[in-house]
């Protein structure tokens, strides 16, 4: 569904990504594991149209070339990003954030049913409709961010380190919700530091180092891969 090939990103003279290729399918969770500064955020931002990709990059969504489109048009193609730091409208209410999520033309027809789905996933958001988002806890704001992204009816949901700053318990809940989202048919591209939890829910994973993909495998294989265990799972076997 989403196919990225030969993606390059530069900030001035600094090359953040080079020759990156990957794909994400419907109903599937792909996780991107990599250390700080490896280029994970740059990858998501390039796909979302927030940072420009280098010439030679090819990004296709449902067969259509989307590289070079403005960010707001990429949402219309079915890609939603939950950015680092969430990017919610803190001054606005939960309800307004979710309504804005359905601003995309592709989402308007099904707004009511999508809202039902979001409320089912995160009942807290239904209870707190009128609350200003900046007054909510980090975990609740993350629900707003994910709910808002779902409201655009994406085929692919991209999340940039959603568990950052959440307690272990809240992170567990979050990953459970992501699994349910994938089961209801959305494709997910997840960037995470929390390798243990994310590999548990993922179908496939990529390893990224210094701006290049260095490995790709099923999540099961990655969990048992000694290199992955050493680098991301604290040197000992995660409870696979």
């Amino acid at each position: 569904m989403l196919e990225v090939s030969n993606l390059g990103v530069c900030y001035g003279r600094h090359t953040a990504l080079q020759g990156v290729s990957l794909h994400v399918e419907k109903g599937e969770i792909s996780v991107m594991l990599g250390a700080n500064g490896a280029g994970k955020s740059s990858l998501l931002k390039a796909v979302a149209g927030i940072v420009p990709a280098e010439p030679g990059t090819e990004i296709r969504m449902n067969g259509r070339a989307i590289s070079g489109l403005d960010a707001h048009l990429i949402v219309e193609q079915g890609i939603a990003l939950v950015p680092e730091g969430r990017g919610v409208f803190g001054e606005l209410t939960v309800e307004e954030n979710l309504a804005l999520g359905a601003f995309a033309k592709r989402a308007r027809g099904s707004e009511k049913s999508t809202l039902g789905l979001v409320h089912e996933l995160f009942p807290r958001l239904a209870e707190r409709k009128r609350q200003q988002v900046r007054t909510m806890s980090g975990g609740e704001q993350q629900m707003v961010a994910i709910g808002r992204a779902l409201m655009s009816r994406p085929d692919i949901l991209m999340l940039d380190e959603p568990s950052l700053g959440l307690s272990p318990l809240l992170s567990k809940d979050l990953f459970k919700s992501l699994k349910r989202i994938a089961v209801s048919g959305f494709g997910i591209l997840l960037v995470e530091q929390n390798a243990k939890l994310s590999l548990k829910i993922a179908d496939r994973g990529y390893l990224i180092e210094n701006g290049a993909i260095t490995g790709e495998d099923t999540a099961d294989n990655l969990r048992h891969n000694p290199a992955v265990i050493n680098a991301y799972l604290g040197g000992h076997r995660g409870n696979a």
Partner: protein, 288 residues
Amino acid sequence: MQIIVTGTLLGGTYALIALGLTLQYGAARIMNLANGETLVAAGFVAFWLFTALGVNPLLGMVLIAPMALALNWLIYAWLLRPLVRRAKNRGMLEVDSILATFGLLFLFQGLMLLGFGGGYFSYKFLAEPFLILGEPYGLNRVVAFVAAVIVASLLYLFLYHTRQGTAVRAVAVDPASARLVAIDVARTAAFAFALGGALTACGGILLSTFYTFNASMGVIFTMKALIIVIMGGVGDVRGATLAALILGITETAVASLIDPGLTLAANYALFVLVLLFRPQGILGRASA
């Protein structure tokens, strides 16, 4: 009591003018120093429609507001968008837009001086007394106030109860996130700028029904609008409305209790007080 009523009536029109500026600055990030010229130009058109064609200024508003919308859209598209494109950050856009609209101010003022000369203009519209609590007030001021309330309510409904209006607010608070929900930030900013111009024009038309104006008076109203916007908190629609009423009442009080020549001085005194004690705006919360 009379002071409060007169001041409130005046504040209604001020509110429209300031709402125009706050939309342009809050959502489009353009500090439009030529805002007052839009106001005066709209006053002149209303004057001309009324004296030459006998068009009621309230009806004139229905004609002039869309024209102001279109004109401000063109100004944004031709003059300001290149600045938006090349600006690396918000500060740079602010400096550039202040310089550009400062130039625009002189251009418009010159054109109006050319067309109408430097003399003072006014026309008689509903210049009859209207009783409120037994005291007489100009009916034109009362009608202008009611019209201002209606226009401001429509704006409020738009901003708070429609998807497009919510998008305008989203762009005002966080343009980087707005694009993530499929909002075309560039277009929305242009629209907000144009809508702001239309609101200010409405304020100018209403003002012209009871106020004597001339071609070079725009600057004073830009200053007043600026003071109201900063008092109310930048981009805060409710704050600006409240600040406009406070300004209207203060001006009226100073003019009738002390001296009419001191109204501008009172404006600045109020402004300095707000900057000293509530720099985040009268309703605003301290920002992080």
